[in-house]
Symmetry: D2
Subunit: 340 residues, 4 copies
């Protein structure tokens, strides 16, 4: 069945959401300070080599894991299935696809999961059993549909929104998510030579839960950014001011993408990973026969920037692991004893 | 299978969205003026007895039909299925439920549809084939994921959001939507005596696509409100000011509900129907095992109002058709020939 | 010279601004927590019986003094003159008016000052020499026109805005400020019987630096509220949510007054004083021949509430010192039957 | 008396405000369309060669005059004095300064005025007698402190804010405004070589009513921009979207200057003049002994951009009259009689 035929068939509803992301940081304490003090996230657990955090409206035990690493970069991306049966069906398909890493026991917050990789090697898992956030008495609110109080610290983000992965080949990686997991294509950029340089895919009504962008360096498995959501435009200006004031690097924004209609701010967290802060509600896709929006080479500028200044060159080449640092580190490793 | 068992089973994904709503107006021209001049909706078609409108981000041919009526009130509520097969499966279930009105030919914008009623008699239909918005050249935008330009008129709403139905019995009506169509319960209010006086249900990631509230008058089939969405908090204050200035009755707000976390404004359109304007993004439900939030009698105040003044008494008793007017009209009808 | 003649003459520019306000609190620690943790004010000095605070854009040493008191209520209101010569000229006029309390030595932050009272007895002073805010290294910002960093705590107010005094006679108290200090009338409410029940006066381009409202209880010298400024509408909704969450009483708002066009929130700080949070920029008066806006009895509702729910009755009767407490004390003293 | 001594003396309060600005447009109809349809300004008068407009909160007959011109550029800048006496005193000082053009009869909206020029030749006048806005019945509002209804057209600006003049020598032009009219310096940029390349001056509590920026081209008398005020941050994003959609050139923003803390958008109106839209309230200066903020060469970047992308090069070199056109016009003038 071709991709077109699949699209015409009944949509698959097996993966419910992106539930957690993991990033590596060479300076975990500084990264945690950024996410907790500036973005107002709750620290929910500290392990020897990792810290778990969650936004105040994230429902589960955690949504962000920051793990010690010699380098910034993406860790394990965790998706939750709609049901145990859906999980098992997807595991079979993934296994058959050759990208499966097999079942693994549960970890903090998540039950038994099927692990897999994108063609480029980005590590992912799908799980169903979950632990809900355990909230300290002092952090509970009478607003019963909100798992925890809105923090009075920093400009608190409300929830994890999406991840954006750099790929050596956008089409291959995107198709794998569509074919095996039922992701649907919302928008993409296709150049005159037919090269698909970016794609935004969803399993929810959001325009994207996972995006794919061409890695200009031709690398595999890097991270472009993880995104947290405000939904309130003013908060983006507020957090921008706080970042500028506190010396957090603001790479771009505030501005509004055409694609996804996201009011954005891109900052580099102290560990080096790019973080997108998503300011408004963007738009939602309810239409079950949504025709993916194809931005052509002529239109790409409007797609990338609807309102605001052009994005800096770094936006299109910087990712984590950082290549320069990687090379430098490599050299260092080859000529010297490893750090203590 | 009990409701609890159903909830534990795999979720049903057959109804995709609320696609259009219909209201009756005794003064259609004034109603149309309100929706087009204050709420910035496009007028897409004028028939002898009805006008069709759409918000600038509504994808289909229309999202609001205003039909001539001697009285304000709800008309036909139109839902779109995820696929033709899903439509047919739901039609069978509805037919078996005894609430079906059968298949009817397509109308403006929508293909062949299965018509049905809630236990209280609110008229609805489910369809799949749809016409997308046909947008005049001058109203097209280079923002390719937006069907039409953002109007420079009034404070334009972005899309239809939800409907709220008054019911003689909330539980009965709500369960019908859950059992036959796969709606899921997001939040509800249950009094100490076990009486469920309001329920918010969804088929999307929105907290609610259809809400049900107890009709204090014990009537059947009335409308509490239809809701249009801004997603931008400031726009609610902007439209509130415009309504006050232009003499449109503002019943309540701006304020923020606890339930759904909606930043709201309730206005009475010139025809008499209540319209909710939904200012921010509220919160979204991605969790496939979301436990419905039950607001108890003690908590109901927080649920209804999180931020802002108490709602006026009218909010809890006023609906359309208007009862006083209904009675008056009834009397009139009894002594005079009805209008055509 | 009549008030009308004065108004026609060249405007007086001698008082530059409201520089600081003082309130009494029976629970200073809780009050300080409110202003520092929820409103994000800097604590600049702690004395045995008073705490001094400032908003992050207040230029001088402090803008709010919270003093231990058995009762909530207003303390000393401090205005800064345009020059030393202006201070001396005003002191002479105040002295001649019979409302002067004489020159007093400088206190923390302010130089030698002339003290005086309104006809109702609200205590005030006028000074010129001032200490600018001394800001700790860690709280300094590279934004050189801002005295200190924007705090990452609570929803920080930006500056002291105005005070609103309850009066036994609005006209008498207002005229004293106009005649002796050069305040100008921006807006007022005049009832059909000629009774001026509220007046908003300015020495800056703000609509009001000092407002006067009739004390329904006929008391003298009470405080209606002190106001701090955000200037950003969203922050009012943010702080409202924080207050609700933390159990700070929200008396009214968010809403928008017609008078002054203030987007407001009224909260009762833990000590019992009403605090207005001023959300947007309101409007500014640059017109040197501004004709005061007279709201008549018919129009008073529009003047009080432009957008939002009616204000609660308490708004019109509650002030500090609190009368109930006073009455209770009175009862205790008199040990007599309560009034009917 | 040196400038320092003047600053130490009692402040002068003679000029109350910038009351109106005039720009030339080579395509008046398009310019008027921009200001009326996108910025929601009222058209108050159409003459054979000029159109007068006002924002909905501008108090006087008009605040913007668009005059036919072969070239874009600044016309007459109109300031209102605090009183007739103040006007006469200033006229004397201006006359003595050698920059006076003498008294001229009143024009539409303004009484008899004293005309003068900056050292660079920017044309200005000072007047006192004024006509208030005459508002059509349908455009009047019950919000009595607002001269006219908030338009339901475009994203309506609220008032004229300031003008920014390009100068061959900032210091000379700025000092003339300070010395003769009592403007006060709020902020300025001084390079390492002592060159003052920009200055912001005020006669109100605004950070600036008139700004001066070095003309990189060394020209005299050009306009950098005229500014209109929203005071509501969201409206800047709204109007930016409308401008992008309608093909109005957005040169820079949304972003936030350090200097003045202005949330800004710069657009080029169809006639070629740069227009700043001022989104938030900035900050206000009440302090009568405000020490001008001096931004050094090291700090200039923070001063120019606090939040947002660097300004494009055009921001620093483009002004009106446009130089390329100026040269062309120059050639034309040399071969033809000057226009009357």
């Amino acid at each position: 069945m071709s991709h077109e035929q699949k699209a015409a068939a009944e949509p698959l509803h097996e993966v419910a959401m992106l539930a957690a992301t993991e990033i590596y940081s060479p300076c975990r304490r500084d990264s945690v300070d950024f996410f907790s003090k500036i973005l107002g996230m709750y620290i929910v657990r500290e392990d020897a080599n990792a810290t778990y955090l969650r936004s105040y409206e994230d429902p589960f035990a955690y949504s962000l894991k920051i793990t010690d690493g010699t380098q910034a970069g993406p860790g394990l991306q965790s998706f939750r299935a709609h049901s145990q049966a859906a999980l098992e069906r997807r595991a079979e398909v993934l296994e058959a696809s050759g990208l499966g890493d097999g079942w693994k026991a549960g970890e903090f917050g998540h039950g038994k999961a099927y692990h897999f990789r994108t063609p480029d090697g980005h590590r992912m898992k799908l799980f169903f059993d979950v632990d809900y956030a355990v909230v300290a008495e002092k952090d509970r609110t009478t607003l019963r549909n909100r798992p925890s109080k809105r923090p009075a610290q920093g400009i608190p983000v409300r929830r994890l929104d999406h991840i954006n992965l750099l790929c050596s080949n956008v089409t291959t990686n995107k198709n794998m998510m569509i074919d095996t997991l039922g992701f649907r294509l919302s928008e993409h950029i296709v150049m005159d030579d037919g090269n698909e340089i970016a794609a935004w895919t969803r399993v929810t009504n959001l325009v994207h839960d996972v995006a794919f962008m061409l890695d200009a360096a031709g690398e595999k498995g890097r991270l472009h950014h993880v995104a947290f959501w405000y939904g309130i435009p003013q908060h983006l200006m507020d957090v921008a001011e706080l970042c500028v004031q506190e010396g957090i690097k603001v790479e771009a924004g505030p501005g509004k993408h055409g694609i996804s209609q996201a009011l954005f701010l891109y900052v580099i967290e102290p560990g080096g990973n790019r973080v997108e802060l998503f300011g408004d509600a963007g738009y939602l896709i309810f239409d079950p026969t949504w025709k993916p929006v194809t931005w052509t080479q002529d239109e790409v500028q409007t797609g990338i920037m609807w309102v605001g200044a052009d994005l800096p060159q770094d936006f299109f080449v910087y990712g984590t692991p950082i290549l320069e640092a990687a090379s430098a580190a490599e050299e260092t490793r080859q000529s010297e004893p490893a750090e203590a």
